[in-house]
Symmetry: C2
DNA sequence: GTCTGCCTCGTACTTAAGTATGATTTTAAT
DNA sequence: ATTAAAATCATACTTAAGTACGAGGCAGAC
């Protein structure tokens, strides 16, 4: 954001300098003022398009990263606990129950218990459905 | 897209007209040419920002709806066949192998064969991974 | 014709997933 | 201190998923 603004400022300054150098004293008397204005208009329009695009992009790119403190309202509604959610996340990444157990330093049976409760809370039968459902509800990215 | 370009053209025309009306004959002798240029630069920069933002937004919004005739290039690269892709789609929707078999009017064992080949082509071990991978590759929405 | 790739199906097996039940421990709230 | 929810683990079981063959049919390429 600040970088874009800075760059825009730089671009502006550069353009101004160029304009000064190519000054009207050499041009305006040869070409008409209209042409001169058209050139300026074009340059600044281009600069504006560039700056506008940059700004929009910055905000657009930030969203996917930021809109996840997750939908904690829906999370509460479902009654999913902290641990169950962690299991859900790893599940969504395609890990097996055993892998999840290893990552969370608990036993396989613990994970199975969590998944069973999780499925019941999400009202699904299989892990693939659970992942799909969780994404629908914006519980996971 | 065309609408934005049209609007931009209109904006340009309007600005040009305004400039003509407020013509230098009335202004340039009072204010310096630099100030006049600054005004023009500002106006066109603003116009550019607006147009640029519009254009970006249009393309960004179009993407989620349109970017699906699916990425057929990557599909070919993986060597996934038509039938395998159908299985993949249903799999991603959370269906079991039996459900997929019913929907496609083939036997369970056929689906198992497809999934096995599919996993090998996607270089994964489990269906949850397959779905994740396929989404990464933009093979499915 | 022959070959190749795809789709189909079956059987047999191994492994993972999911369910049910019960129990202990931790943690936080009252 | 009591209670309740969450987290942990185990055992036993059922079902689904995944693997490894083999094999027949079928369409298009050579």
């Amino acid at each position: 954001m600040r970088k874009t603004i800075l760059l825009y400022g730089l671009g502006l300054a550069t353009l101004a300098t160029v304009l000064k150098l190519v000054e009207y004293r050499y041009f305006v008397r040869d070409l008409s003022l209209e042409v001169y204005l058209a050139v300026i208009a074009s340059l600044f329009t281009a600069l504006g398009v560039w700056a506008g695009a940059k700004l929009i992009k910055k905000t657009k790119i930030q969203q996917p990263g930021v809109d996840f403190a997750i939908d904690s309202k829906k999370l509460e509604e479902t009654g999913i606990s902290t641990r169950e959610y962690e299991v859900l996340e790893l599940m969504a990444q395609g890990h097996s129950n055993q892998e999840i157990a290893d990552k969370l330093f608990v036993s396989l049976s613990t994970i199975k218990t969590h998944t069973t409760n999780l499925f019941s809370k999400l009202d699904v039968k299989r892990r693939t459905q659970a992942v799909q459902r969780a994404k629908e509800l914006n519980l996971i990215p």
